[in-house]
Symmetry: D3
Amino acid sequence: MKKQFIDKLSPGDKVDDLFVLSEKTMSQKKNGDNYLNFTFSDKTGDIKGVAWDNIDQIAAAAKSGDFVRVKGGISDYKGGLQLTVRQIDFCTLESVDPADFLPVTKYDPDKMFEQLKRTVEQYVTDKYLKELIQAFWDDKDFVEKFKRAPAAKKMHHAYIGGLLEHTLSMTVLVQKIAEHYKRTLNGINMSLLLTGTIFHDIGKIREFEYNYKIDYSDEGRLVSHIVIGCGIVDEKIRQVQDFPKQTEMLLKHLIVSHHGSKEFGSPEVPRTIEAVLLNHIDNIDAKMNGLREFIEKEAPDESWTSYNYMMGCHLYKGIKE
Amino acid sequence: MKKQFIDKLSPGDKVDDLFVLSEKTMSQKKNGDNYLNFTFSDKTGDIKGVAWDNIDQIAAAAKSGDFVRVKGGISDYKGGLQLTVRQIDFCTLESVDPADFLPVTKYDPDKMFEQLKRTVEQYVTDKYLKELIQAFWDDKDFVEKFKRAPAAKKMHHAYIGGLLEHTLSMTVLVQKIAEHYKRTLNGINMSLLLTGTIFHDIGKIREFEYNYKIDYSDEGRLVSHIVIGCGIVDEKIRQVQDFPKQTEMLLKHLIVSHHGSKEFGSPEVPRTIEAVLLNHIDNIDAKMNGLREFIEKEAPDESWTSYNYMMGCHLYKGIKE
Amino acid sequence: MKKQFIDKLSPGDKVDDLFVLSEKTMSQKKNGDNYLNFTFSDKTGDIKGVAWDNIDQIAAAAKSGDFVRVKGGISDYKGGLQLTVRQIDFCTLESVDPADFLPVTKYDPDKMFEQLKRTVEQYVTDKYLKELIQAFWDDKDFVEKFKRAPAAKKMHHAYIGGLLEHTLSMTVLVQKIAEHYKRTLNGINMSLLLTGTIFHDIGKIREFEYNYKIDYSDEGRLVSHIVIGCGIVDEKIRQVQDFPKQTEMLLKHLIVSHHGSKEFGSPEVPRTIEAVLLNHIDNIDAKMNGLREFIEKEAPDESWTSYNYMMGCHLYKGIKE
Amino acid sequence: MKKQFIDKLSPGDKVDDLFVLSEKTMSQKKNGDNYLNFTFSDKTGDIKGVAWDNIDQIAAAAKSGDFVRVKGGISDYKGGLQLTVRQIDFCTLESVDPADFLPVTKYDPDKMFEQLKRTVEQYVTDKYLKELIQAFWDDKDFVEKFKRAPAAKKMHHAYIGGLLEHTLSMTVLVQKIAEHYKRTLNGINMSLLLTGTIFHDIGKIREFEYNYKIDYSDEGRLVSHIVIGCGIVDEKIRQVQDFPKQTEMLLKHLIVSHHGSKEFGSPEVPRTIEAVLLNHIDNIDAKMNGLREFIEKEAPDESWTSYNYMMGCHLYKGIKE
Amino acid sequence: MKKQFIDKLSPGDKVDDLFVLSEKTMSQKKNGDNYLNFTFSDKTGDIKGVAWDNIDQIAAAAKSGDFVRVKGGISDYKGGLQLTVRQIDFCTLESVDPADFLPVTKYDPDKMFEQLKRTVEQYVTDKYLKELIQAFWDDKDFVEKFKRAPAAKKMHHAYIGGLLEHTLSMTVLVQKIAEHYKRTLNGINMSLLLTGTIFHDIGKIREFEYNYKIDYSDEGRLVSHIVIGCGIVDEKIRQVQDFPKQTEMLLKHLIVSHHGSKEFGSPEVPRTIEAVLLNHIDNIDAKMNGLREFIEKEAPDESWTSYNYMMGCHLYKGIKE
Amino acid sequence: MKKQFIDKLSPGDKVDDLFVLSEKTMSQKKNGDNYLNFTFSDKTGDIKGVAWDNIDQIAAAAKSGDFVRVKGGISDYKGGLQLTVRQIDFCTLESVDPADFLPVTKYDPDKMFEQLKRTVEQYVTDKYLKELIQAFWDDKDFVEKFKRAPAAKKMHHAYIGGLLEHTLSMTVLVQKIAEHYKRTLNGINMSLLLTGTIFHDIGKIREFEYNYKIDYSDEGRLVSHIVIGCGIVDEKIRQVQDFPKQTEMLLKHLIVSHHGSKEFGSPEVPRTIEAVLLNHIDNIDAKMNGLREFIEKEAPDESWTSYNYMMGCHLYKGIKE
């Protein structure tokens, strides 16, 4: 179990722990001797490394992308830290805990999932949608992925458990907002809207790879989470007897249209009240989470943040109550 | 007091009541005689009219845009109704009740205003913002306009009292949504956000004319409600001693940026969390109200609505719980 | 069997045949008597109609959208023709031949389908894709719909059999164009490209209704033919043992990306050579067919056509060899 | 008073003068000893610096952004110059002349202001607008800022006095262009157009900070110069008795609409002839000045300039009379 | 010579004069008799016409688009005027004066052309450009077309002589504006800029047809005035010995880039100071003329105009000095 | 004749051959001595160089952009190669073979040109177009440039002979595609379409410089290949007696519109069937060649390519038959 994390290392520390070998390059000294430059990573950041001796042996031990055990020491170099490497050993995937290398949600996935289940029990009254959701809950493999998947590679909820955290947060908003408009809009279909909320991004369990790093999968880049998600829902609907055609259509519409417009990747725009609401609630939750993640990483004593790509501007942090 | 409304007239009715004379044109019969065509309006709709006799006298009585008392009778014509006019008399503005001619909110403006005041008392804790709001509440002329102004000419909340209804609805959403994110975003400034919500559209009390019809004012078209609104807030801030410069700046930023992007008329994009939230909440409330108004006017037994310009598509109404 | 088609009627003709009653409105004469106005349609066009007598009986016989048998006569009216109606009788859907009311391809669907099958046999060499295609051919219900479906509501191939005609034409182009680039691009996957071509628009068999008129289905408007199509392919892939995951992904990518960009409704842009080619070939075939249909309807002796929405301009027809 | 400017330094010079300490970083030699790297700036450019001795003392003397007195010498390093530092002393803001550190207009602000006043006297005949302008001229604090403010952070007139230079240049163009069209357009309101020209960018006196460097102020980024400018005009209008409502509205319209379209930050598009003209004249003057500044900095003997962001292209300089 | 113009006709007038027969349709009375409906036009407007007798003879006399001599009388009909036709005779093109049917500039083309020539003499000092312009002036056919061509089909200067009027107005602006910047921009090439101004739209002499109506020519729609214009200049440059290649390139650049950006039809953006200026001056002159023409046609006593497509808004006319 | 190409050099090689001196900079060692850094180039790539001795003499021998003969040796440096320079001698343009320094087509230009001529003979039947093409073939200077010109600076066919290769490939596609649609579109004008294909990019023979490097010419940037191309065709049309005006117009239309829309630089959109086809075929051939060139340079064993600017995405290379 990994104990030494990069953001806690100081000059003078001895190092003997697991890292990802992110980069490795052979360089030459003036006298013609070779030496090695490295970048090592874990979930807390990156550190530069160098090896002066045993070059060939160390170089042969592992390649970029491998997990390695590193022995060496920390020193200052050009205003930063440097890991001088004495020995590198290759580690199998089985021997590492991915959680040491991947950012994770701050919340307990199991508790989040239980809260989501309670929300379903309370608000989803439609017989068929209840059965459909139950079919998902009964699928152990699905539940495991649903608890682990990130909601993005960057921008917002870009960490293990991010999809569940985003989904749960949206169901809370759905209750609040839909309730507010229920009186005047007589006829927001809560069963449908909540089910759509829960599964709107479900294709992301396959759009991303998130075993040892978070990145797009081939399927994700080629087919898109919207189309993958409709396929996942299709598969489960086949397990529910007499699932009504219209409900299927409206549920898929929520998945298909939740990006709000074609230029954002939705093949159809929202055409039901539920779809319009879902698109807006998704947007708010993504923005609020993305801004929180962004601002947490900013220097605390500046009035303005660095440029934020999601909002397209610098953000002002000058006043808080 | 007007008793006969256009949407209740039937063939055979005798008419003797007030209408707006929306259109008046002189036409010629084959035999060369003149006759008059009219459109009359009230808050419930329009009706075509015709006069065959006393042409010159009737024509001289009033011009397009005037309020008139009309005497005549209703008959069928080409599948619709027609008002055959015997007499028209001009009416002064003082003699009519504008409420008979303008669409109004379904809610009681006084009750909405009281609810808004209670929300302020409960959530706005900043000393200066409380004083600022009180300065607005103490301005009788302002309060009267604030209770009457529409939020738009068409699209959403396009009726007397619409601005207050929209504003109140948004404050309810602000409480719900801001509360949801308060825990994680430690530092949503509720005093600021609520004050900004209350006054984000305040320029609309001068952007529109809404005495006898709802239309843009000259000032509205030339200066825009965003700039008018900042001026109104400026004026009241001068009445609050030592109002902090930074609070003023952040409050105006909420007004300035609430359309969310330049192409929608905001000179600056949202650059604070409060401004991002306000933009989204404004958007949701406009959409939900606009959709309700739109769908209420649609034929109830069709699966699809006519084309909706706000959403850019036909909407599906096929299923409701 | 219908014998009298609207584009062949002349003044003086007696009429006794089937039409769609497209519009029906009650009007009033000056003397207060009612009369009826109609529009009747078949696959060759529209004609106005009028009924002066037996009004109530005729009005009760059928409603807009019904198939009816009409008895009456043709006369000139305001430079066009008018059908004076004596009698209207309702007809059940079963008693009409939809082909009388729907535009159809000029080619024999069975021959087109045979040609398509031969192309597959010749060029699709991949074992799994062959099996997949065979699974489609073995599905009688599918084949029937595939032969009948239109490729659009308007713009191009907007007629019964249009989807098959468009698909077949594209496979011919694929052979020609892919062959041209095969030498230099060593590695256009013909099996994949042809299979993708055949099924790129397959969702259109459910995106449209085309029994008695061509229009979008509810599913079409809510889910889009791209997502429907992936679902149809999914279903058939389950019938092929060990269908390779990568082939499935690449085949779906061809469907998903064939509109070429997000703003045209593709959730992903083309990311393989085959997908880039398919997008262009689809585009050319749609344009060429759309232009042909458009120009055929234009006045033959004008240099310029009316405005063409597909191309965004007037087209010049001034010279042909 | 500063005498040594960066663009005039040569190898071998002794240095003892004021600079902005733009950057300061601690580095390490191979032997583990620390040394310091600097960037020093003044209005003529930047120079790299290095300190090998007295490191801790020098490092503690000042931080990035401070004004400092530097003692040392100039040498060649890697094809450029380097300032080897012996001593650094902190300087208070009061002890420096900002003009040594900020780019300034080539023209005399007082003379420009006098010319502007004469133009007003000659062309502004409207009683209320004359009074309004006089109220501005009587405000000493305003006049001082108006003479100093830049018109931009970069792009065009990005220097002290730039706003006045830009404004004056535009008033000259207004006279020329408006006169040309006056005959045909009978009714260009010269009083209004000139007053609008003078104050169209007036918000920039607060949109920027320009005491020691030119940058956006918080208010500038949050509220925008258009809204700030309307507020400044509002304030002065209150000092003019009976200022006509319509004139106020039209003057603000010139400020509000002068960017020409919403996507460029104007909440309303130009809706009067004067506003259309002002937008174009602003545009021309910004382009002409921006191009001049840009081309002056380019290598004189190349046919093409580097990429120009304002115009979106490389510019051709190949021929001049 | 035509004496009776449509805008001067009154009820009761006898008519015997030339008109364009813009429309002609055969209609049927209730009793089955045919009658004829017409629209007649001249440069002052349109009038409806009708013929009850001699139908066949009148119908055969001329077709839509022909010039005709009409005999008949004027009467009121449905609030407008109607020309009851007794006789129609075909007229050859030779027998009509096009000036009776086409809108024309208010200025004297010969005087405008003389003023343009004087400007050239005064400001164009480059030997080759002088020769080039002289080659144009020496081409009688060119000069005649240059004096007659319109600058547009609608929008601005859409009348006979409009191109010359627009060109001349621009040369005046060029003198004023270029002079203003000459001091600071040392090196505006006046010879080049003025020559480019004179010929920037020269392709319009072939882009339009303007013998009997103003419309696009086939060449205009297929090749565009920018490309036509470069060809015209090419042709004349061949007549000037040793015309410098660089001057030719820069002159064509002014023609090629004068629309300012690709989406407005310029294959290249402006890349010289002269080209930037020309684009702006063209824009101002088009806007000012277009607005004048537009406002002249508007009702004089309304504060707001109807929708203006060129500016994309309603315009405010409320105040003029 | 150059024998040593950069992509074949290895550590230990002696060098004595021609290169382009792409970059030359003087640097300083710690001890204050100067040394020289270089970049040398040929058609196969770049290599870094350094000179420690004879600095002044070597520095004076040539400047950036010159062709030089370099004597020295190759060694490893920082994981790459380095050319240690002993001597540099300037070479005149005449003494080098540009083909050693410019990328070239893989095909034989003479054979490609012969194939193009045969295609013309077979398919171009129009008398005047045949004569026009012959006039081009008879122009030795033209043919030489046509065989050498590149089709782009980067993106696609960006090498000597690229224009001819692109043009020939398109004529093959034209035959295939036009033939396919000829039956249904009765009236694709093959003579016109092929001639247009051959000359659609002909302006590129002057839009680029391609003697010693491929770059835009001044004329190319200022006038654009579309306008240059029309001028070239104009010139040759003058050599064909009685060339029909309409054919000229339609041929130029193919050149003018072949980019498909204004924002891509075509002053007019395609308005004939031939122009629509040409635009699509140009697009396909550019994409296919651009993708080939791009993928050839990518690492062979990765599933995904680096970012491709032409397609706006990463491309998937995972499967090939």
